[in-house]
Symmetry: C2
Subunit: 319 residues, 2 copies
């Protein structure tokens, strides 16, 4: 069955995941018609609360996401998960592993799950994430959870679009200076020390506390200790975690704070989209010339230099 544009828009706005998935995929595949559809639904966005979950590999992010889904579903809220896997440079694919744990929610109509991986020469992960989050938002999803391994620049960028950022760590990853180095702490609104049955958990929590003290603003951050496996996380810790997230969400839900947030997100979206659309164009031009590999030959032989060749390619774009 081929749907007309208005039917697709209506289906997305009514939360039809099959139609929405198609739109997400078409946006990712640079289908022009998808961008026109997106323009139609975009005015229905800006209502969902977006929660970023980030932290070192193995910190227990998927477990936390699982716990949050369950908690939000109990409150009759619609939940979406955007799970971001840095793709392997060799296979080009993403290995999901512990994502399997989330499968039990897939039969629940109020839970949407989508996995994203990096792609192409110029990335575009942020663009895909922004598009997917917006489509979920237009679908009437109440809480959108973005889960990502969190130390790269790409992923720090993605986290900027979250309203509330939860950063998870585990004891024993190194000293405090190392932790600051990753830049990850500074974007946190809620901090979780997971696997806190391990040695050094109190030390880690204390170090986090001391670091928060050094912040010039955004000091009001809860530090919550949890333990590894879902059934073992004690109920009071989960309750505290959800309260912390709710508290932060409430602080930014209305008035000027809300306007500033929407404006910040629109700015991020626009920058990323301009970057990404241009990257698509560069790729097209390189293909016309036989690809970057062919353009790079004179540079590899040191007959020319990268700046000279790059400026020549840019001239082509402006024609």
């Amino acid at each position: 069955m081929v749907l007309n544009a208005q039917s697709i828009v209506n289906a997305v706005l009514h939360g039809n995941m099959m139609v929405a998935s198609r739109l997400m995929r078409d946006l990712d595949d640079r289908v022009d018609a998808a961008q026109a559809l997106f323009a139609e639904i975009y005015s229905h966005t800006g209502n969902a609360q977006i929660i970023g979950i980030t932290g070192n590999p193995g910190a227990g992010k998927s477990t936390l996401v699982d716990v949050l889904i369950t908690a939000y579903r109990k409150q009759q809220l619609k939940v979406a998960v955007v799970a971001i896997d840095p793709s392997s440079p060799y296979s080009g694919g993403a290995i999901l592993g512990d994502r399997i744990r989330m499968q039990r929610h897939t039969s629940d109509d109020g839970v949407y799950i989508r996995s994203l991986a990096t792609r192409g020469a110029f990335g575009g992960l942020s663009r895909s994430t922004l598009d997917v989050v917006s489509v979920f938002d237009a679908m009437g999803v109440d809480r959108i959870l973005i889960e990502t391994v969190g130390v790269g620049q790409d992923e720090t960028d993605i986290m900027k679009l979250a309203h509330t950022t939860v950063v998870m760590t585990v004891p024993g990853l190194g000293d405090d200076v190392q932790a600051i180095k990753s830049g990850i702490l500074e974007i946190a609104n809620v901090l979780v020390v997971n696997k806190s049955d391990r040695d050094g958990a109190d030390t880690t929590a204390h170090e986090l506390f001391q670091m928060l003290d050094l912040r010039s603003d955004n000091k009001d951050v809860d530090i919550i200790q949890t333990i590894a496996n879902a059934p073992d996380i004690n109920k009071s810790a989960v309750f505290k975690l959800i309260s912390s997230i709710d508290k932060h969400q409430a602080s930014i839900a209305q008035g000027q704070a809300r306007d500033a947030l929407l404006h910040k997100q629109a700015t991020i979206y626009l920058k990323e989209l301009v970057r990404s659309l241009l990257a698509d164009k560069i790729t097209d031009i390189a293909i016309e010339h036989g690809g970057f590999e062919s353009l790079a030959t004179s540079v590899a032989k040191r007959e020319s230099d990268p700046y000279t060749v790059a400026h020549a390619i840019l001239k082509d774009i402006q024609q």
Copy 2:
């Protein structure tokens, strides 16, 4: 003293770090004249061996770099270190911390050290790294060590320009699936399990071994166990590590392998430079319109959508 172009080129080719630092900074600051100078020195590049050192925060990368500097200096080789710190999104700066350890080498004429942090709206860390590595290469440096925290896409990209990639891990970071997820293992030519006095070191080494077994190519990777602090690393482990790096470097030093490597690097350089030069241009255009923040207002108010506005900005670039 103002140097003319030929004097600057000569000073760089003779290894004058003060003049070279100025060129690196000018390239980073987008000074047109610097690009002309760079074109002059680029034909003198392609001789250095580039070694990437990556791994989780706290894995002991700086210690390893320190050990390698000492070993290469004993062989009378010139060494440069490019230390990459993901910048903090709040302070915009980078905290060096354990970099202090390296300071003892700064009085050695044959050791060059440069720290880089991410910058600007569209990153450009890879461009800066490529520029700095090329200038070191033209200066006659024999070994260039690039040290970076290693799980983000940005940094995986940077690692692609290394001839030999050393990936460090520590025991107890999580199960094997999590480790594959980060994509970091697949680019390794040498694997180091540091802090191997900790519980679980043998398990980690064994898991790495099993994973290598799953690779379709690039299987000949040594796994070396070392222990945390520089004075404590036992000599045989360091010797083994350096032999492993040398063995890999020898396998790619000549003939077709060398040509393929130079071509791959030229391709990476060119792609990154086109991307970065375009990003500069987008920033200029946005500033003309009062910045992205101003352009984003209609998107934030849902009066327009990001695709429509982004396409309008792109039209401006093509004029």
